[in-house]
């Protein structure tokens, strides 16, 4: 089955769709592709000034600027991938109504565009790490695994959202609100130590995004005790596996829903 999914033709189509996406993104701008690096860089500078110099929300965490940036980069990837995928099926309606291509390729290609951006952003983070003198931990080798987890979580959601959006156009507004709430419920801009209620803190850490971002920070930037990860909060208990179960359920649920809807996309768009 895997061989059929990644047949020569499907790979060619995928690469062409991703290429087109990328070409069209900076269409008409003078700096063109340079914006893919310049944009995150400039955003980081603003966040650095606001949160490190003005608000000082670090709470004593070592290398807080890079800590902050890594969190934002991972969250932005999640946000970009889900929002782009959400409208991808409807946006490619002309293709779906007139040609037979595997529907999942459309969602997959927008996820790859998001992955490329993640890669570029991580380069910027790496530059920041070197510049601010972070000792790269050996546990940084775990980072790809953590990113794969985020990707799978986002993919499950993307499949569900893109299929549901065909029938219910409200989904895009609802998802926007959920993302906004999620952004503040996930310890991205603040340190978890400022959350006084321990139960509440634990609940926050059951969210796969919180778990992944905290683990990524722990793995790459610092093992300092102030970095509260899910497994630290639950002391290695069974609850620490809840985020992984959530990711698995979301992926399977998303796949099944997408598959059940895929055949009627052409009629419903």
């Amino acid at each position: 089955m895997f061989k059929r999914i990644f047949s020569k033709q499907n790979r060619a189509l995928l690469s062409e769709l991703v290429r087109t996406d990328f070409k069209l993104r900076y269409q008409g701008s003078v700096l063109g592709y340079a914006w893919s690096l310049l944009r995150p860089l400039l955003l980081f500078v603003i966040l650095y000034i606001v949160f490190v110099k003005v608000i000082k929300s670090g709470g004593g965490i070592p290398h807080f600027p890079t800590y902050l940036l890594l969190g934002i980069v991972i969250w932005n990837f999640f946000l970009e991938m889900t929002t782009q995928s959400l409208g991808s099926i409807v946006g490619r309606g002309d293709l779906i109504r007139k040609i037979r291509i595997p529907r999942w390729i459309i969602v997959f290609s927008s996820s790859i565009s998001a992955l490329i951006n993640l890669g570029l952003n991580l380069i910027v983070v790496l530059l920041f790490m070197i510049w601010s003198g972070v000792d790269l931990q050996t546990t940084a080798l775990l980072l790809p695994l953590i990113l794969i987890e985020v990707y799978i979580f986002a993919l499950g959601l993307s499949l569900f959202l893109s299929a549901a959006f065909v029938k219910f156009r409200d989904i895009s507004y609802i998802w926007e609100v959920i993302l906004q709430a999620g952004f503040y419920l996930t310890p991205i801009l603040y340190s978890l130590s400022i959350v006084p209620n321990e139960t509440f803190r634990k609940i926050l850490l059951l969210n796969p995004m919180a778990q992944a971002i905290q683990d990524a920070r722990y793995a790459t930037i610092t093992h300092d005790n102030l970095v509260i990860t899910t497994s630290r909060a639950f002391d290695g208990g069974l609850y620490a596996f809840v985020p992984f179960v959530v990711v698995g359920v979301v992926l399977v649920g998303g796949l099944l829903y997408f598959k059940s809807q895929a055949n009627s996309f052409a009629e419903n768009i």
């Binding site: 070409k23 293709l95 007139k98 037979r100």
Partner: protein, 418 residues
């Protein structure tokens, strides 16, 4: 090999659910479910119990009126829609051309679009590179390949799309009226491509209204009417059945709505122009012997067109004429009293002149428009021109291309120089 089935369609039906109020927001779903949980929608059966087979190497035609369900059928063959009932089995790879240039993006250059469109048709980058030069040459737009598609004329876009499309190597091609695009020279290329397909015994499913093209290329076909197959068989019979259906519906329509005599005074003034010394009152179309008619078959040897002119001011020896055009506006026939060397009388205000043209029914199948006119004695000042004042239709069973279709004889002799 010859009798192997390429596509087999078994008792296929398709029903669309058309909600009365479009349920595209969660709120409306919630509100409606509170109102007793009934979601009102209409079931529209577009196709019912369709069964036919297409053999390998066949050039198969599907014909039907607009709204007969043939496009839905085509989309199900292409696996874009799934049948509500029955099943469709396709042997081998099927490439549909519901529309040319699917996925073309106006912001990309011609070259980039070629690769994108190629990928959608199932080619990889390397294969596309190999045939890129051929595509550009065939489309005749060499100089424009690095310009954005939005700067192309629509003809250029279509030519580019067609040039990519014909590279598609597939077991079965499905073509939906992608012909009749581009200028005459390019159209000839397209027809040549069709001939090549036929020669190479390529399996093709071809949907068209163009009965001429259907008869020229297809071997077999079906006629779809109101969601069912009304005829399946050799293409000549298919085309005749289709033309009969068209005729019947038109006659029914004519009986209900139009009277053969047109009272031109009520007509829209938009299609009327001239200096106004003479006005046209009535245009009559009929058969020989006086029957008013709008539709003529092989048996009807003459077409009678009678026009009533009325003088508004005094005019010396005016010229009266008619022009018959086809649907595209091309002149098929033109006649007037001057060319017929008929000396007309001077007329005074209120005087009415009836002129009858009796024309042999030499026209080919199609819809024809009559535009009567009156002009001064040398035909240079138009007093009145009534554009498309009346319409009539011709249906010929005799197969023919072109504007003229009359009964003719054929003499064949063979010579040997020995």
């Amino acid at each position: 090999m010859a009798d192997e089935v390429a596509i087999s369609v078994n008792h296929v039906g398709k029903t669309f659910r058309l909600p009365h109020e479009r349920q595209s927001s969660i709120k409306s779903v919630l509100i409606n479910s509170f109102r007793g949980g009934k979601r009102t929608f209409e079931r529209q059966q577009v196709l019912k119990d369709i069964t036919f087979n297409i053999k390998k190497g066949e050039f198969f035609g599907i014909v039907g009126r607009n709204g007969s369900g043939k496009s839905t059928l085509l989309k199900m063959l292409a696996n874009i829609y799934t049948p509500t009932e029955g099943n469709i089995q396709v042997e081998g790879k099927l490439t549909p051309f519901i529309e040319l240039g699917v996925g073309f993006s106006p912001e990309l250059t011609g070259r980039e679009n070629v690769f994108l469109n190629g990928a959608l048709l199932g080619f990889n980058h390397k294969e596309m590179e190999a045939m890129y030069d051929d595509i550009v040459e065939f489309a005749e737009i060499d100089r424009f390949m690095d310009q954005k598609l939005k700067n192309y004329s629509s003809g250029m876009q279509v030519r580019l799309a067609f040039s990519i499309a014909i590279r598609a190597q597939s077991d079965i091609l499905v073509l939906d009226e992608v012909l009749a695009v581009g200028d005459a020279i390019f159209q000839k290329k397209c027809y040549d491509y069709f001939k090549t397909l036929k020669k190479n015994k390529q399996t093709v499913v071809f949907v068209s209204h163009d009965t001429g093209a259907l008869q020229e290329y297809c071997d077999k076909g079906i006629v779809v009417e109101n969601g069912s197959i009304v005829y399946e068989g050799p293409i000549d019979r298919v085309v005749n059945t289709y033309l009969d259906i068209l005729n019947e519906t038109e006659e029914r329509h004519d009986e209900q709505t139009a009277r053969p005599e047109t009272d031109s005074s009520k007509d829209d003034i938009k299609n009327r122009w001239g200096t106004g010394e003479i006005k046209i009152n009535k245009v009559y179309v009929g058969k020989e012997g006086g029957d008013e008619a709008r539709s003529f078959k092989d048996e009807d040897s003459q077409i009678v067109i009678r026009v009533q002119f009325e003088a508004v001011s005094s005019v010396e020896r005016p010229v009266y004429g008619i022009t018959i055009t086809d649907v595209s506006g091309q002149i098929i026939f033109q006649s007037n009293t001057l060319w017929c060397e008929y000396k007309t009388k001077d007329i005074i205000p209120g005087e009415v002149v009836n002129i009858e043209w009796i024309i042999p029914n030499a026209f080919n199948t199609g819809t024809l428009h009559i535009s009567p006119a009156a002009a001064d004695s040398v035909g240079s000042v138009i007093y009145e021109w009534l554009e498309n004042a009346a319409t009539f239709k011709v249906r010929k069973r005799q197969k023919s291309h072109g504007h003229i279709n009359t009964t003719h004889k054929l003499n064949v002799t063979y010579e040997h120089d020995n």
